[in-house]
Amino acid sequence: MNESNTDVIQGTLDMLILKTLSLEPLHGFGIARRVEQISRDVFKVNPGSLLTALQRLERSGWLDSEWRQTENARRAKFYRLTRSGRKQLELETADWTRRASAIARLLRQEG
C-alpha cells in the first residue's frame, strides 16, 4: 500500500530525512524538495512515505515538531532534529558508509 512508488533506496529514507534536517528545521514538502534537489532528482520522495516516516522518527524521539509560519507567510509543521536524532544520524551515516564502501570494494574487484 505504501512505499512502492518511491525511488529512495529501501531503508535510507530515515537517514536522508535526518541528514536534511541536520542543516535546518524544515516542513514536509521542504524536506522532499531538498532531498530531490541535492540528489539532483535521482531520488523521488513519496509524500505518504515521507509523512509517516516523519511520524515514526518523531515518536522515536529523533525529531520534534511545531507549527509555525513559512517564509511565504503560510502555516506549516516544521521538524527539527533532537540531540538523540543527531546521534542517530551519526550512527546511520557511519553504518551506511561502511556498507557502501564494502559494496564499492566488491564491485571494483569483480570489475
Binding site: 505504501n2 516542513h27 514538502f29 524538495r33 509524500p47 509523512l51 524521539g61 506549516a76
Partner: protein
C-alpha cells in the same frame, strides 16, 4: 524515551482524536499546497501546475488516510469500532443475545460450581504429605464398614509390617465450663501417633509422646488453630497452661497449624491420647478395650503398596494367634475393609457426587449444542448482510475479525455472568450440602474448571460464529446477495435439526434422573417413622462434672446424682407453659446418635445359651411413648411405677416381639439385656417399630427400659418435648428450665424433630434439588432449540407455505405441517434419549429408594413432560406459519 513517546503520542491521538485527525489533514493539505506553489513557481499555468503537482505527489486522500492510520492507536481504534458494532448487533438482536448469554452463563456457571464442590472430595489430593500412603482400616460387619476395638488395633499394630505408624481415634466430646454458657467441644481421643499418620506436626508446642498414651497417663490436649483463636485469642503463651474439660485439668501441649484439616472428622477442635487400659486385654473381654467403637488409620511405609498392605492385613485377620486372644465380636472372621483415606471419606457420598457431576456435564453439553445451534441460526440470517459488506469492499480478514469480535463479546458476557453463577452456585452448594459431606471448608471456585468450561464454550462459539465468513469467500457474492431475499431452505437446516434432536435426547436423560429421584423422595417421605414428628422439640443434655463421679466411700453415688439431675430437669421442663408432654431417652430416633453405643446383646429366657439378638437399647423416662407418639400395641408403656426397686420392666419393638414370639403373647416373658448376671427384665408391653437411623433404613430390633432400672446411668440423654404450636419457639424456655436445676450442664443439640428428619434426608434432597434445577435448565434449552429451528424454518419456507395456501391448503393443514415437523424432531430425540437414559440411570440405583430405575411412572411422566413442552415450543412458529397470507407473500417476491 522513545517507548514513552510511542505511548503518549498514541494516547494523545486516541483521546484527542478530532484534533489529531485535523493536524494530520492540515499537514497533508499544506504539503500539497506547497507542491502546487512550487509548480507555479516553475512558471506553469495554474491548470498545468495542479496536474504536475498531482502527478508528483499522488492522490491527497490516499496520503491523508496513510498518515491517519499510522501507529498502534489506529489498531485500537479499529478494535473499538468492531466492538462498538458488535455491541450494536447484540443489542439489536436482543432475544438472540440474551438466550446465548444465559446459555453460556448457566453452562459455565453450573459446571464450574459443581466441579469446584466435587474436586476437593473426589480428585484433589488430601492436604497431607504423601496422602496416598494413608489408609483406613475397618472391621467388617455384614460386608459393611464397622468400627473395631482397641484389642484388634493392638494386634494389627504389633503383627503388621506394612505401616510406618498406625492410630485409632474415636469421638470425645468433653464439656467445658467457665464460658458464658456451658458448652460441649468436639474432640477426638487418639493414639499418640495420630498426627504422624497424617504427617502433620503442631505449629505451636509439640506432638503427643508415646509415654502419654498409657493408662493413667498425663491429661494433655492439642487444640485446633480455630479453637485456639476463639478461646485463647491466639495467645502463644497458652502452651503448658491447663484447660478444664469434663471436670479435669488438661494441659495444652500444642496447637495445630492454621488451615489444618482433620478430614477424618472435620469439626474436631481437640485431640487427647486415648489411654486405654491394656493390662487385662488378653483375659477380660468386658473391658472398654474390647468395645467396637474405634476407627483406625495407618501410614504405609515408603515402597509398600496398598495391595501388599491389604494382603498382609487379610493374612493376619485369617490367622489368629494364641497370644492375641479375640472375643466373638472381634473375631475378624468377616475380614477387614482397607481403603485409601481419600476413597474412605468419599465413599458414602461418591455415588451422589458422581451422579451430580454427570448431570452437570450433560448441562454443559446441552449448553454447547445450544450455542452452536444459535450461532448457526444467526449465520443463516446474516448471510445477506455479509454479502453486502463484501460487495462494498470489506476484506475477508475484516469480516472474520468482526465475527470473532462478536463471538468473543458474547463469550465474555456469558463468562462474566457464568463466573457470577459459579460464585453464587458454590455458596449455595455449601449451604445446601448435606451434613457428612467431607471437606466442605475446602470448597472454593475452581479456576481450572472455570477456564475449561469458559474455554470450551468460547471455542465452540467462535468457530461456529465464523461460518458466515466462510460463505462470503466460498460462494460468489452475487448468489448470496440474491439468496438473502429468496428465502429458500438454508444449508445448515440438516445440521440444526440434528442438534435439536441431540438437545432433546440429552434433556431426556437428565429429566429421567430427576424424575426417578423425585419419585424416590416421594416414596421416602411417605414412610412412617413410627412416631409423630410434628411439634416435637429435642434437646440433648450431657452431664458433666465431678459431682457425678462415684465416691470411693459410696459406690453408686455418682449414678444416683446423675439420675436425680435428669429427674429434676424433666420436672422443670414439665412446668414450662405450653409444654404438653416431655420425656427423655438415651437414644433419639433420626438423630446422629451413634447406634453402636446403644447396641447390646439381648438374651431371652427361651433362647439357647449360645444365641442372642443385637438390639437397640432405649433407656427412657416415664411417658416416653406418649411424648414421642409411639403407639403402644399391647400392654403398657414405661411409667412412674418402674422405679429402681420395682420389678424390672421392658418393652419390645413390634418386629422383635413378632420374630421372637410368633403367635404368642410376649407380655410376661423374661430377658437379659447387656450383662446376664442381673435380675431378668420382664416384658410389660409391645410398641411400634421406630426408624432409628433414617427413613430409608429399616428399624433394628429394639428394647425399651426405664432409666431407673438400667445397669448404668447414661450420662447423655435427649429430652423430647411435645409442645403446643411451633416447637422451635420453646427452645429458650426449655433450656432455661433445665439450667434452673444446674447451670453447668451443657445442652448440646437443640433441634425440632422435623429439622432432624430433614437432615436425615439431606443427601437425597441435595441430589434431587440439583437434578431438578439441571432438568429445568435442560428442558428450557431444548425448548429454545426446537423453537429456534422451527421459527427459522417457517421464515425460510414462507414462500412455500404461501404457495400451499394459494393452492388450497387450509390453516389447520399448515399448522399440522409445521407441528408434525417439530414433533418428529422431538420424537427422534426422545427415542435416542430413552436408549441413553437406560444406561445412564443405572448409575442412580444406589440413590433410589423404593423404586426401580425402570420405574414406569417416572419414565412416562418425563416423556409426557418433554412432549408437552416441545409441543408448546412448536406451537408459536406453527401458528405463525398458519397466518401466512398467500397474497402478500407471493406479491413480495
Amino acid at each position: 524515551m522513545s517507548l514513552w513517546r510511542q505511548v503518549t503520542y498514541g494516547f494523545r491521538r486516541l483521546t484527542h482524536r478530532a484534533a489529531a485527525d485535523e493536524d494530520a489533514a492540515d499537514e497533508v493539505q499544506q504539503y500539497f499546497e506547497e507542491a502546487l506553489a512550487a509548480a507555479k513557481a516553475r512558471g506553469l499555468s495554474s491548470e498545468d501546475a495542479r496536474r504536475a503537482a498531482r502527478l508528483e505527489s499522488g492522490n491527497m486522500t490516499v496520503v491523508r488516510e496513510q498518515v491517519r492510520t499510522y501507529g498502534w492507536e489506529s489498531a485500537v481504534r479499529i478494535i473499538a469500532s468492531d466492538l462498538h458494532y458488535a455491541a450494536r448487533q447484540l443489542r439489536s438482536h436482543l432475544g438472540f443475545s440474551i438466550v446465548s448469554v444465559l446459555t453460556l452463563a448457566l453452562g459455565i456457571g453450573a459446571s464450574t460450581a459443581i466441579f469446584s464442590a466435587v474436586d476437593p472430595i473426589l480428585f484433589e489430593p488430601l492436604p497431607y504429605p504423601h496422602a496416598n500412603r494413608i489408609l483406613t482400616i475397618w472391621n467388617s460387619w455384614q460386608g459393611a464398614r464397622s468400627e473395631l476395638s482397641f484389642g484388634t488395633f493392638q494386634e494389627l499394630a504389633q503383627r503388621s509390617r506394612s505401616f510406618e505408624s498406625m492410630t485409632i481415634f474415636e469421638p470425645w466430646q468433653p464439656a467445658m465450663n467457665g464460658g458464658v454458657q456451658p458448652e460441649r467441644l468436639e474432640g477426638q481421643s487418639v493414639s499418640a501417633s495420630f498426627f504422624q499418620v497424617l504427617g502433620v506436626a503442631p505449629a505451636l508446642g509439640r506432638d503427643f509422646q508415646p509415654s502419654e498414651d498409657v493408662f493413667g497417663g498425663p491429661k494433655v490436649v492439642i487444640v485446633s488453630d480455630r479453637l485456639w483463636r476463639r478461646l485463647f485469642h491466639g495467645n502463644r503463651s497458652v502452651i503448658g497452661h491447663p484447660v478444664k474439660l469434663a471436670g479435669d485439668n488438661f494441659i495444652i501441649i500444642g496447637v495445630t497449624p492454621r488451615g489444618f484439616e482433620d478430614v477424618l472428622s472435620s469439626s474436631t477442635d481437640l485431640w487427647t491420647p486415648a489411654q486405654y487400659d491394656t493390662r487385662q486385654i488378653g483375659k477380660d473381654f468386658t473391658t472398654p478395650a474390647w468395645g467396637n467403637h474405634l476407627r483406625m488409620a495407618g501410614r504405609l511405609r515408603p515402597g509398600v503398596t496398598r495391595a501388599q498392605a491389604i494382603e498382609e492385613l487379610d493374612q493376619i485377620a485369617r490367622t489368629p494367634r494364641p497370644e492375641f486372644a479375640r472375643p466373638r465380636w472381634a473375631s475378624l472372621r468377616g475380614g477387614l475393609i482397607v481403603d485409601s483415606l481419600q476413597d474412605d471419606i468419599a465413599h458414602a457420598v461418591k455415588p451422589a457426587l458422581i451422579a451430580v457431576l454427570g448431570a452437570v456435564l450433560l448441562v454443559l453439553a446441552i449448553a454447547c449444542v445450544n450455542v452452536v445451534n444459535l450461532m448457526l441460526a444467526r449465520s443463516e440470517q446474516r448471510r445477506g448482510e455479509f454479502a453486502v459488506r463484501a460487495a462494498l469492499g470489506a476484506s475477508r480478514v475484516r469480516i472474520i475479525r468482526q465475527l470473532i469480535t462478536e463471538s468473543l463479546l458474547l463469550a465474555a458476557l456469558g463468562g462474566a455472568l457464568g463466573l457470577g453463577v459459579a460464585l453464587a452456585g458454590v455458596r449455595a452448594l455449601v449451604a445446601l450440602s448435606p451434613p457428612g459431606l467431607p471437606r466442605v471448608d475446602a470448597i472454593a471456585v475452581d479456576g481450572v474448571a472455570f477456564a475449561f468450561a469458559f474455554g470450551i464454550t468460547t471455542i465452540i462459539g467462535v468457530l461456529t460464529g465464523l461460518i458466515p465468513a466462510l460463505h462470503v469467500s466460498r460462494e460468489e457474492v452475487q448468489p448470496a446477495l440474491q439468496q438473502s431475499s429468496r428465502r429458500t431452505a438454508g444449508g445448515h437446516a440438516w445440521t440444526r435439526r440434528a442438534l435439536v434432536v441431540t438437545e432433546v435426547a440429552l434433556a431426556l436423560v437428565l429429566l429421567v434422573g430427576a424424575g426417578l429421584l423425585l419419585r424416590s423422595m416421594r416414596r421416602l417421605l411417605a414412610v412412617n417413622p413410627g412416631f409423630d414428628t410434628a411439634h416435637l422439640l429435642t434437646l440433648q443434655v450431657q452431664t458433666s462434672g465431678h459431682q457425678f463421679d462415684d465416691l470411693a466411700s459410696a459406690p453408686g453415688s455418682g449414678e444416683s446424682a446423675r439420675r436425680r439431675f435428669f429427674r429434676q430437669a424433666l420436672e422443670a421442663v414439665h412446668q414450662v407453659p405450653g409444654v404438653e408432654q416431655a420425656a427423655f431417652t438415651s437414644l433419639l430416633p433420626l438423630s446422629d446418635d451413634p447406634s453402636w453405643v446403644s447396641t447390646y446383646g439381648a438374651h431371652f429366657e427361651n433362647d439357647d445359651p449360645q444365641g442372642g439378638h443385637n438390639v437397640s437399647r432405649y433407656a427412657v423416662s416415664p411417658g416416653d411413648c406418649q411424648a414421642m407418639g409411639i403407639p403402644v400395641l399391647s400392654g403398657r408403656c414405661i411409667d412412674e411405677h418402674d422405679a429402681a426397686t420395682a420389678p424390672q420392666a421392658a418393652l419390645l419393638s413390634e418386629s422383635l416381639a413378632r420374630s421372637q414370639f410368633p403367635g404368642q403373647n410376649p407380655i410376661g416373658k423374661r430377658l437379659h439385656v447387656g450383662p446376664t448376671d442381673r435380675p431378668w427384665y420382664i416384658v410389660v408391653g409391645v410398641v411400634g417399630d421406630v426408624k432409628q437411623t433414617s427413613l430409608a433404613i429399616d428399624a433394628p430390633d429394639a428394647v425399651y427400659l426405664s432409666t431407673e432400672q438400667t445397669w448404668f446411668a447414661d450420662d447423655t440423654l435427649s429430652f423430647v418435648v411435645r409442645t403446643r404450636g411451633d416447637a422451635a419457639a420453646f427452645a429458650p424456655a426449655v433450656k432455661n428450665a433445665i439450667w434452673s436445676v444446674d447451670r453447668n450442664q451443657p445442652i448440646v443439640r437443640v433441634a425440632t424433630m422435623d429439622a432432624l428428619l430433614a437432615v436425615t434426608n439431606a443427601q437425597r434432597t441435595f441430589v434431587l434439588i440439583l437434578f431438578e434445577a439441571f432438568g429445568i435448565v435442560a428442558l428450557a434449552l431444548a425448548a429454545v432449540g426446537i423453537y429456534g429451528v422451527l421459527a427459522g424454518s417457517v421464515v425460510e419456507r414462507t414462500r412455500e407455505i404461501g404457495v400451499r395456501a394459494a393452492l388450497g391448503a387450509s390453516r389447520s393443514n399448515i399448522l399440522a405441517l409445521i407441528l408434525r415437523d417439530g414433533m418428529r424432531l422431538t420424537a427422534f430425540g426422545i427415542l435416542i434419549g430413552i436408549c441413553a437414559a437406560l444406561f445412564a440411570s443405572r448409575a442412580l440405583v444406589t440413590l433410589l429408594y423404593g423404586i426401580s430405575y425402570l420405574d414406569a411412572i417416572a419414565w412416562l411422566g418425563v416423556v409426557t413432560l418433554l412432549t408437552v413442552v416441545a409441543g408448546v415450543a412448536c406451537w408459536t412458529p406453527a401458528w405463525r406459519a398458519a397466518r401466512v397470507d398467500p397474497s402478500i407473500t407471493l406479491r413480495a417476491e
